[in-house]
């Protein structure tokens, strides 16, 4: 029996995430904690599952252990399927393969995975973006345009534009220029790093690109501009929902803060579009008699006896009496002891903040303080 699927999704999760500094010293970027209960990759996986895409390859080559363990057989996202499902695709050695040299090269080296399912379309996604998108609508759009490639586009402000792939398109949404991270942006329509390709076109361009020694083997730098130069039908799909690339400490912190407030900018409470994650059997959270919690998201397994303001607290965190957590993101199982204060910081998993210690400062123009995984901050220490 032929295992045919209409769409195969390929998630680029190889990013070393240098800009996330200490947070990625032992974990790949997509497995960094987010929003109290999630890992960054939960968003793209849940989007796939909710869009009816059940065949997914995750391309990874950096610190894959936690990611592999986390994804497992894909069961938390309902992606444990008898054909397809979610598979981790690490680089492997053969006559023609090697470490992944670029985003396009990573897909090229796994063409055999795609071919196995003979899909009409290949959806290329990033593992490190926070958003909710129905890919089935994107694919419908791609079909209706009879496109060879469709790129999801979001308007950004001019100041940010230099960080993205910037494109211009005509009245019919056909893209006529694309420039990756331009010095002088021609506009503010940014690529979200979400591409749909008709499989034949993708194969053709990847194979051509592989022959080209001068190519950096990247979608944004090589494949897409090449297709546009050849006047392929490359279309823009505009998206106006929440979308955030959490590639830096600041953006990761901001995206967490976006989930706070009485009506937050971004929320995972939509029951029609659940964001799923692998979670443990934690007991309910306990809020003690002296606790004070304002404008914060807190999850299961936590014991809160201190003050928490404008913060996101992940599973199993302990905050002692007299401790204060303000404008911060606290990862799993952190212990914040009596009288300690954590301000404008991200504290990675399993750390202990000693009694009376101070982490971070109330200067919001200064960089965010990051505490490493399993760090021990001694009693009374001051860390900024």
């Amino acid at each position: 029996m032929k295992k045919k699927k209409e769409t195969v999704a390929m998630i680029l999760a190889g990013g070393q995430g240098n800009r996330l500094g200490a947070l990625t010293s032992t974990d790949a970027k997509p497995s960094v904690s987010f929003g109290g209960k999630y890992r960054i990759i939960d968003f793209v996986l849940s989007n796939c599952a909710n869009s009816g895409i059940d065949t997914i390859g995750i391309l990874t080559q950096y610190q894959p252990l936690t990611l592999n363990e986390y994804i497992g057989n894909g069961q938390p996202w309902d992606l444990d399927r008898s054909t397809g499902g979610v598979q981790i695709l690490p680089p492997y050695q053969s006559k023609s393969t090697d470490w992944y040299k670029g985003t396009a090269n990573a897909i090229y080296q796994n063409l055999n995975f795609i071919e196995k399912y003979s899909p009409q379309f290949v959806l290329v996604l990033s593992g490190d973006h926070i958003y909710k998108m129905d890919y089935s609508k994107l694919i419908e759009y791609h079909k209706s345009k009879n496109a060879s490639c469709t790129i999801a586009v979001k308007e950004v402000n001019l100041k940010e534009a230099r960080r993205f792939g910037i494109m211009t398109y005509d009245y019919n949404f056909k893209i006529n220029s694309f420039e990756e991270k331009p010095e002088i942006p021609k506009g503010t329509s940014a690529s979200m790093g979400i591409y749909v390709f008709s499989t034949d076109t993708l194969m053709q361009y990847l194979k051509q690109d592989n022959e080209n020694d001068k190519s950096s083997k990247d979608f944004g730098k090589d494949i897409i501009p090449h297709m546009i130069n050849n006047n392929e039908s490359v279309f823009a799909y505009t998206f106006d929902g929440y979308w955030k690339d959490v590639g830096t400490v600041e953006s990761l912190w901001e995206a967490n803060m976006d989930m706070l407030g009485d009506s937050p900018v971004f929320s995972t409470a939509d029951r029609q579009w659940k964001i799923r994650s692998r979670s443990n059997a934690e007991p309910p959270q306990f809020v003690g008699g002296d606790a004070k919690i304002v404008n914060s998201n807190i999850t299961e397994g936590c014991i809160i006896n201190g003050t928490v303001e404008n913060s996101v607290i992940a599973q199993g965190v302990y905050i002692a009496r007299g401790a204060r957590v303000v404008d911060s993101v606290i990862f799993d199982r952190v212990k914040i002891l009596e009288g300690a204060s954590v301000i404008h910081s991200i504290v990675d998993a399993d750390s202990v903040i000693g009694k009376g210690a101070t982490v971070g400062r109330e200067d919001y123009l200064a960089p965010i303080t990051v505490i490493n995984k399993s760090a021990q901050v001694n009693d009374g220490d001051k860390i900024v």
């Binding site: 937050p264 443990n280 309910p284 809020v287 008699g289 919690i293």
Partner: protein, 375 residues
């Protein structure tokens, strides 16, 4: 040594008619994110029992939904695993409308399941007791003393005038000598049976065959009491957390006792024995700008804008601005609109308390609001 697990899901349904109107005792919600069956089932799973049969009777839809294929308890196995045993009604029997009413009849109704067991021991448990017991140690104790049957007890103070169907035992040197019912004159510390039993599977099979031929109905009377001198029946005194849910009021108080850090630690934070449950994909709970929460247990997926104290809040509950919620148990998806005052109230699933309502119950008689109702 392989052990078989059997859980009775319905035996005590009549004790809380409010909560068991459309669910089994086993699927009564408890402690924010659990159902009562999570405790006996986790106890068995934590002892690495690989085959657990759950005897059902009626209203077991919610139980099936909750347990699914048992994967949360690591019991989704190729062989054995979790087996839901639907009610057995013989098509040939003249009174085929009648289902079991006693423990022994319930066991008879699953005779095929028991006869096919190859496990050396069987652990049986009811669903009305919340505990975190080391079942491995229990089985070890049973083996070491070379017993036929081990009954687990808990030493509990029974005040005069207590109405209960509980049974107490007396034993000398760990061997049970007397099994007696609690009556209203009983006063003082008693070792109550908590209906967790270890029995050699071969013995269970012969008890089963015998009771089929004699028509015996009661496990306590016809099996235990009759045989205290002929069988080696022992007592295992359990010291851990214990809540017996035998009335709406005891259900209410048990939930309230969970607000003590000691009870939480003893029940939920035992290193090698977590309590598992069906995991939903709820987002973290959102405390809004006007939230004021003290001394509460809270599950995920809630949105809290008001004042809440000394309460147990289940998944997906919404508490609006200006509300005062005190000493309450709010089940899944309860929605309390702006400006409500609730005290000593239990709301069942999907209840909506509309704007400005005031509802007060008494600590000994909490005000219960039925599933799906709008107040």
């Amino acid at each position: 040594m392989a052990t078989l697990g059997i859980i009775f899901s319905n035996l005590h349904d009549k004790s809380i008619p409010e909560l068991t109107k459309d669910r089994t005792m086993a699927s009564v919600p408890f402690g924010c994110r659990y159902r009562l069956i999570d405790f006996p089932l986790s106890n068995m799973a934590n002892a690495d029992i690989k085959r657990v049969g759950i005897i059902t009777h009626y209203n077991y839809y919610s139980l099936m939904r909750h347990l699914s294929n048992g994967k949360e308890w690591n019991l989704a196995r190729k062989d054995a695993g979790l087996i839901l045993l639907p009610p057995f009604v013989s098509g040939f029997s003249s009174d085929n409308k009648k289902l079991y009413t006693t423990r022994l009849e319930a066991i008879k109704s699953i005779s095929d399941f028991i006869y096919s067991s190859t496990e050396e021991y069987t652990v049986m448990s009811d669903s009305d007791v919340v505990s975190n017991i080391d079942v491995n140690e229990l089985i070890y104790d049973h083996k070491r003393n070379n017993r036929d049957i081990t009954l687990v007890t808990k030493s509990v103070f029974v005040p005069r005038g207590t109405q209960t169907s509980r049974v107490a035992i007396k034993s000398t040197l760990g061997r049970v000598t007397e099994i007696y019912s609690i009556n209203s004159d009983t006063h003082g510390k008693r070792n109550l049976m908590i209906n967790i039993t270890v029995i050699k599977t071969e013995l269970l099979k012969s008890v089963l065959s015998e009771s089929i031929s004699t028509g015996d109905k009661s496990f306590t009377d016809d099996v235990l009491r009759k045989n205290t001198s002929t069988l080696n029946i022992g007592e295992y005194l359990y010291n851990g957390p214990y809540f017996c849910i035998d009335s709406l009021s005891s259900f209410f108080h048990a939930n309230m006792e969970l607000l003590s850090t000691d009870e939480q630690n003893n029940l939920f934070h035992v290193e090698s024995r977590p309590i598992y449950t069906n995991v939903h994909s709820s987002p973290p709970t959102r405390f809004c700008n006007n939230a004021n929460v003290k001394n509460c247990l809270i599950a995920d997926g809630c949105k809290i804008e008001g004042n809440v104290r000394d309460s147990v809040i289940f998944r997906g509950v919404r508490i609006g601005k200006g509300c005062n919620v005190e000493n309450c148990i709010l089940f899944e998806n309860t929605s309390v609109d702006v400006g409500c005052n609730l005290k000593n109230v239990i709301t069942d699933k999907n209840v909506n308390i509309t704007e400005g309502a005031t509802l007060y119950g008494h600590t000994n008689k909490p005000f219960y609001i039925e599933k799906n109702s709008v107040i």
